[in-house]
Structure formats: structure tokens, C-alpha cells
């Protein structure tokens, strides 16, 4: 496990006194993608929220580049190299698409997004529109583009393909693979196994808040994952 990685050990977290995630361990190494799968309600989003700093971690450790992440407030994690795209409320509805994209950039140069926007002409057409007018899938595309454009070392995505058209999902997978090759890493919560198959190197399967399978995508295979989703 090298330095520029995220590692979490026996993480317990939840809402109020209800613990939803009950001791999950995993890690993401540079240039690799960790897929987190499981049915609804098993704690995937909760785990990611805790890793992003929006939920307190009751027990367990979270380390980023060797440092304890739990004392870092949510808004400081971006500058530490961690980007997060939530599952719901994924855009700023009142801001334009362009403003959504360059909110965090000091120079507001859309050139950063050139490659990304090429892949999604729908967004380019609507740069001046209010993001609230986009459909659910388009908002997810905007969120995806923005998160990738942030160029963080590790990007955490919660259900990035939900509501997105299949041809765009393919493009998203291609973009993630390209960025992987340049050393960036990803932790992606997904229910779309096709997408996971295309991008994930390692997979963590959750059920009832616990990890029930873990391993490399190659070793596990799609059938095993499907069984966990549908049985």
C-alpha cells in the first residue's frame, strides 16, 4: 500500500444512534478504481459520505496518504486531493452549467474541461442554461464532468450513471479508464454492473452494512456480483 492512497479500516458510521455501516475495510491505490456494490440500503452511500467528511466516523480509521483523515473538515478535503460527487442534489440548480463547472476554479478557464465537454455535447449546448432545467441524467453528467475536471487525486463518485443514457455511460467509462492510466484513482458506488465491469479493478460488496465479498474484479467476475444484487 503506497502513500498516495486511501485506506479505511473497520469503519462504523451511521445517522444518530443508528449505525448503518458496521465495520468495513478497504483501500484505493493510485491508478486504480475501487467499485463498491450492493443492494439498496446496505450502506454504500453512507460509507462514501463518511469518507467525504459529511458523516462522523464512530469507530475505525480512515487514512489518506498516511494521515488521519477524520480530523479534516469536509470542505478542506478537496485541497487535500479528494473530490466527492454525492448521489442526490448533484448540481447547483440556480447556477448555470458553466458556473457549476468553474465554481471552484480560480481562473474560470473552461479549457480544463475541453476534453470532457467534447464527450458530452449536450452539456456544451447548455453552458448558459440554469442547471436546474437539466434532466436527472444530464445533471449526473454535469456532476461527473465537474468532478473529473477538478483533477483531484482521488475522486469518490456515488452512483454516477443513475439516469444516464447508455451511450453516455460508455463514454464515462472510457474517460475514467483514461484518467486511471495517468495515475488518478476512484472509489465508485454503483448498481450498474456493466459500468463496474468496465472500470473497476477491485470490488467491495456490501450487505447489511458489512463487507461480504472483496477482491479484484477479474477474480470475482460478474456472475458473483449479480448474485449479490438480485438474491
Amino acid at each position: 500500500m503506497s502513500d498516495a492512497s486511501l485506506a479505511f479500516e473497520d469503519v462504523v458510521c451511521g445517522y444518530g444512534d443508528t449505525m448503518v455501516v458496521r465495520g468495513v475495510t478497504g483501500w484505493v491505490e493510485p491508478g486504480r478504481v475501487l467499485g463498491i456494490v450492493g443492494r439498496n440500503g446496505v450502506g454504500k452511500s453512507t460509507l462514501l459520505k463518511a469518507l467525504a467528511g459529511f458523516l462522523p466516523v464512530s469507530r475505525g480509521r480512515v487514512r489518506w496518504r498516511g494521515e488521519d483523515l477524520r480530523s479534516v473538515p469536509a470542505h478542506a478535503r478537496l485541497s487535500a486531493g479528494l473530490a466527492y460527487a454525492p448521489q442526490e442534489n448533484v448540481v447547483f440548480g440556480e447556477l448555470s452549467v458553466a458556473e457549476n463547472l468553474w465554481l471552484h476554479l480560480p481562473d474560470r478557464n473552461p479549457a480544463r474541461y475541453a476534453a470532457l465537454l467534447e464527450a458530452f455535447p449536450r452539456l456544451t449546448e447548455r453552458l448558459k442554461q440554469r442547471a436546474g432545467l437539466l434532466s436527472g441524467g444530464e445533471r449526473k453528467l454535469l456532476s461527473f464532468t465537474r468532478t473529473l475536471g477538478v483533477q483531484a487525486t482521488l475522486s469518490m463518485l456515488d452512483e454516477p450513471t443513475e439516469g444516464v443514457q447508455p451511450e453516455n455511460i460508455d463514454r464515462m467509462a472510457r474517460l475514467v479508464r483514461a484518467l486511471k492510466a495517468s495515475g488518478r484513482s476512484f472509489a465508485i458506488v454503483e448498481q450498474n454492473l456493466t459500468f463496474i465491469e468496465q472500470v473497476a479493478d477491485d470490488v467491495l460488496v456490501l450487505d447489511h452494512g458489512e463487507c461480504v465479498r472483496a477482491g479484484s474484479m477479474a477474480a470475482l467476475g460478474r456472475e458473483a456480483l449479480e448474485r449479490h444484487l438480485l438474491v
Binding site: F54, A74, H75, S79, N89, V90, F92, E94, L95, E99
Partner: protein
């Protein structure tokens, strides 16, 4: 086409009323409209601004010194209040309402303890009247009108175009996502609150020469401010202008026909109706 002196005077008075309403409500538009905080002490910050003028004149300082004094006092008080009173009660609108109501009372009582309950008049150096058309109008009031227009335009521009304004708009729309994008929402909210109460204080300074300055003036500015925002809707400039127009306009109109009290009564009735039937206002996007 020229207006006769009487109509011109009436129109200028109307514009003046709207301008003062806009100036005194601006701070609440920031605090309630953007941050969602029902600051029941808003009027008291205006009152403090007015008393700053009383204070500097009492101490023999030039009147212009009231500005830095009011800004300093309001900023310091605003920072403390946001940190110790508002932030802990952020998700509980009732408690915020009550806590700021308590703060308003405290501020009133402190001022009463220092200056007494009676009213003060503040000297106005600029009593000169400017001839316009068939009539003439006090220069100070004209200056106020001009200032209000410029200030609103500048603020609107800043809010829509600057990166700081962008961050505030992001924070009010989706605080969690804003944090995920690196915005320190706690600090930004604190600064925005301080800006809001400083606006209120500055408005008080500007109005001091034109009103009776007494400790109890806050409630009227508070209610007028809330009514403007309830009628006009929160968070948009168009709504703000609309609210000012409806509240200020109806008050001025009815007052000129049936007297000051009836004007105020009509405003109260309109506001009650909006609070009941359309609390999001005319121009809200919800």
C-alpha cells in the same frame, strides 16, 4: 411634458420612501433572504446605526465618523451573535427567531440605559434644497435616493458576476455540495451575516438626520423588512424590488389619501394575507 410642482413633489416623495425602504431592508434581504436566518434584531442594528450618529455628535466628532463607528459596532456584534447565538441554532427556526427576539430586546435596553427612552434629534448639515422643475427637494434626500439606486445596482452586479457572489449563491443553493467543492460554508455564512447587519447599521446612519431617533424604532424596520421579503420572495433581486414596490408603494399611496396610520394598517393587512396565502412571495422560484 412637464409635471406640475405638486405631482413632482409627490413622485419624489414616493421614490424617497421606496429608497429608504430598500436601504433599511437590504440587510435583512442578505440575512434572511440568503442565509434563511429570521433575524428579529435586524431593526435594532438599524437603530444602532442611528445612535452612532447621536454618539459622534455628542462626542464632538465630525458626523462622518458615525460610519466607521456603526460599521465596527455592527460587525463586532454581528460576528459574536452569529457565532454564539445563530450558528448553534441553525436548524431550528423557532429558536433562532426567539433568540434574536431576545437579542433585540437586549439591544434596546442597553441603548435605553445609556441614552434614555426619549427621542433624539440629529443635526443635519446638508439642509440645502435643490430646485427641480417647478419645485425643490432636499439635497440629502436626493443623495439618499441616488445612493440606494447605485448600491442596489452594484450589489446585484457583484452577486451575479463576482466569484465571491458565486460562492454565496452556491452555498445558499446546496450547502453540502458547496463544501464538497472546497467552500468553507461556516466562514462564508458568518461573513455574509456580518455584511447583512453592517448594511443595516449603515442604513441607520444615513437615515438618522431624517427621523426621530429613539430606542424603539427597530420594530417598524423589522416588520417592514420582513413584509417586503415575504411579499417579494427570497433570494432574487427582482423579488426584492417587487416587494419594496408593493409594500412601499401601497403604504405611500394609502397614506397620502387616508393618513399615515391607515397606510401602515394597509401594509399590515397585505402582509398578513401574503404570510397566510403566499408566504414564498410573488417572485419566488419555488
Amino acid at each position: 411634458m412637464t409635471m406640475d410642482g405638486g405631482t413632482l413633489l409627490h413622485s419624489l416623495n414616493l421614490v424617497y420612501e421606496l429608497a429608504t425602504l430598500a436601504l433599511t431592508t437590504l440587510g435583512l434581504a442578505v440575512v434572511f433572504g440568503l442565509l434563511g436566518v429570521m433575524n428579529m434584531a435586524h431593526g435594532e442594528f438599524v437603530m444602532i446605526g442611528a445612535y452612532s450618529v447621536v454618539a459622534v455628535q455628542q462626542w464632538g466628532l465630525p458626523t462622518i465618523a458615525a460610519f466607521p463607528l456603526a460599521i465596527a459596532v455592527c460587525a463586532a456584534l454581528g460576528w459574536v451573535v452569529e457565532r454564539w447565538l445563530i450558528r448553534p441554532l441553525y436548524r431550528r427556526p423557532f429558536d433562532t427567531l426567539l433568540a434574536t427576539w431576545a437579542l433585540a430586546m437586549l439591544m434596546r435596553k442597553v441603548v435605553e440605559a445609556i441614552w434614555g427612552k426619549g427621542f433624539r434629534n440629529v443635526d443635519n448639515a446638508l439642509t440645502v434644497a435643490v430646485p427641480i422643475g417647478d419645485t425643490s427637494y432636499p439635497a440629502y434626500r436626493l443623495g439618499l435616493i441616488a445612493l440606494a439606486i447605485v448600491l442596489l445596482a452594484a450589489l446585484s452586479f457583484w452577486y451575479r458576476r463576482s466569484s465571491a457572489g458565486l460562492r454565496v449563491r452556491a452555498m445558499t443553493g446546496n450547502p453540502m455540495l458547496a463544501q464538497a467543492l472546497g467552500i468553507d460554508t461556516q466562514r462564508l455564512a458568518s461573513r455574509t451575516f456580518v455584511v447583512g447587519v453592517v448594511f443595516a447599521g449603515a442604513a441607520g446612519v444615513m437615515l438618522a438626520p431624517l427621523i426621530r431617533v429613539e430606542p424603539g424604532i427597530g420594530v417598524d424596520y423589522l416588520l417592514d423588512g420582513f413584509f417586503v421579503l415575504v411579499v417579494g420572495g427570497l433570494g432574487t433581486l427582482g423579488g426584492f424590488a417587487g416587494g419594496v414596490g408593493v409594500i412601499g408603494g401601497s403604504q405611500a399611496l394609502v397614506s397620502s389619501i387616508a393618513g399615515q396610520t391607515s397606510g401602515y394598517a394597509v401594509v399590515l393587512i397585505i402582509s398578513i394575507l401574503f404570510l397566510w396565502l403566499k408566504p414564498d412571495g410573488i417572485f419566488s422560484r419555488r
